[in-house]
Symmetry: C2
Subunit: 384 residues, 2 copies
Amino acid sequence: MRKIAVVGFGQTKFGELWDKSLRDLAAEAGALALKDSTLDAKRIEALYVGSMAPGRFAGQEHLAAMAADQLGLNPIPATRTEAACASGATAFREAVNAVASGKHNIVMALGAEKMTDLKTSEATTALMGAGDQEWEAGIGLTFPGLYALMARAHMAKYGTTSQQLSTVSVINHRHGAKNKKAQYPFEITLEQVMRSPMVADPLRLLDCSPITDGAAAVIVASEDVAKKLNPAWVLSVQQASDSVALHDRASFTEINAACVAAKKAYEEAKLSAKGIDVAEVHDCFSINEILAVEALGFCPAGKGGEFVEANAVAVGGEKPTNTTGGLKSIGHPVGATGIRQIGDIYLQLTGRSCNQVKGAKRGIALNVGGSGATANVTILGGNV
Amino acid sequence: MRKIAVVGFGQTKFGELWDKSLRDLAAEAGALALKDSTLDAKRIEALYVGSMAPGRFAGQEHLAAMAADQLGLNPIPATRTEAACASGATAFREAVNAVASGKHNIVMALGAEKMTDLKTSEATTALMGAGDQEWEAGIGLTFPGLYALMARAHMAKYGTTSQQLSTVSVINHRHGAKNKKAQYPFEITLEQVMRSPMVADPLRLLDCSPITDGAAAVIVASEDVAKKLNPAWVLSVQQASDSVALHDRASFTEINAACVAAKKAYEEAKLSAKGIDVAEVHDCFSINEILAVEALGFCPAGKGGEFVEANAVAVGGEKPTNTTGGLKSIGHPVGATGIRQIGDIYLQLTGRSCNQVKGAKRGIALNVGGSGATANVTILGGNV
């Protein structure tokens, strides 16, 4: 495969952005990524837009062509990609494939979601589109419920505690307090998390990432273009799938798709977990950061709770994870998250993070769709 | 780029399939494509699923992972692609890119849509997600209305007649009468079309493709795999974009994205329109077949109506087009159509069409999204 790099990143403020439409958000993120890359819009040869449910959230399908037009990029090819909350990372993967194929040299991968125009109950229903309609939605399951089932199973099998779950949110908010793009850029205490209202036992309100509007974009380029810019090299892009319905999985205490994608990603990058300096993982619910650090091999299976509680995921710890706040503090505009994660790794590897890990040379991002039917693992390497 | 071929095709019956779910349809098409290719499911390395609005039509996002699971393909990467009614062709394009990149050797591209569970008014609203919500849907425009505007403009500029529009439907039904997979496999007369109820002047009911359930799948493989099977070679895969809103376009009497994609496709395939033996084009409304034969260079701009009226698009004519019935007779499950078109070209080039064009060596497919904000042109070549 050709050498390929990320050469620019842009992100809108994440939050309840009632003054901005989906179109506005996509255009703003794309324009910021172009500016960061120093490339002219005319250089972009194709566009991929990750978005989970723009039709249900905003009535608008066909979002990639719309974003291309708003950015002045048409008539370039523009395709939306979707794999629930992993939609962003799938857009990145297709952008990398498009460059790897030799068909294109410079491609934009954008992620966007405008979620707060719906009532919370409607948004919860729309999000449940990422689960199995016939077997899960039909019996009243929602995503807090699905992740609560996984959390309970993990607690029962490994002794993971509520305090460990809560600690995920505390650390991510500590990181996010420094992130001006975050929806909730402030610290929270362990007591606040553990006394917050119960949503789906054992998950409390502050175990859950919020409903968010936002967009993010990265620009991907071939080696000859990238080496003249500010690159972080794509060392691997892997994706795996599993059954959409949780009950069909071999295990409830791990996300097998994440384990498969991580294993392949390390093989492709010729690395192990030891070689990773910084990580972005999918803490849609606190339990999922614990499952993530296990899937990425940062600690043995079942030890994720202890790993978090030992501050190993904090900046300054063994594996700084979600250093800019994670989905919990930054917010989770579902289609944008996978791109935002890759962008935040890019900022770390180019020494520009709001919470810089000194000397970070290699970073990993794990974006998860649904309750784990899709997982994307991306490894980037700094310009060493 | 590596040499890549289509090596298998499967299609469900298209129609009002109340006894089959979206999951059933996707699995059936995928299984039929595997059978046609003679490949074992274990050989499939990645899956792309084109679907426009499964969330709005059936509540179900995350369809690619679901289809992969139902076909027994997980944990392979599975991504949904969307570009409105061109979603199918975008899935094909990503499958080709995935093989071209060297990352995969055998990839399935599937298209599926389950539309008839909604009331017609709800389906019309969902389909309008392919238009601009703020500038078109907001003023009450629907897709029959958008294409009617284009038809009126074409009539005013070039003298295209209602009878020419109606002839598109008559010829496509004549072709489709031989297609056992078609939703409406019967002939219709010019008088029936011209006396059918007006939907959006000048488009009558029988100028409009129907609302349909259905799925189709093709298997794409690298040269070393394909040459042992029954291949039709991918000579080009091009895609272009334009503004989603019709009023923003430079012209209403051509679909510029289709013209751009066709020009690039002919360049990539080192062919001109003269070299094409058979075509599948996007007759979502009769006017769009006229715009299509102009965009593909089968006749000069403005002469599409006369070209159709002269029977040039009929089997036995100069450029046999929509030889299996087109969207009008076969039906238009939106995400499936682009794959069905490519599959029908594949059948022609392997001598197995229900309405075989003798000696067909090269075929072209044009899949259009929305009112023309996306266009995909694919050229396949027989095993000569």
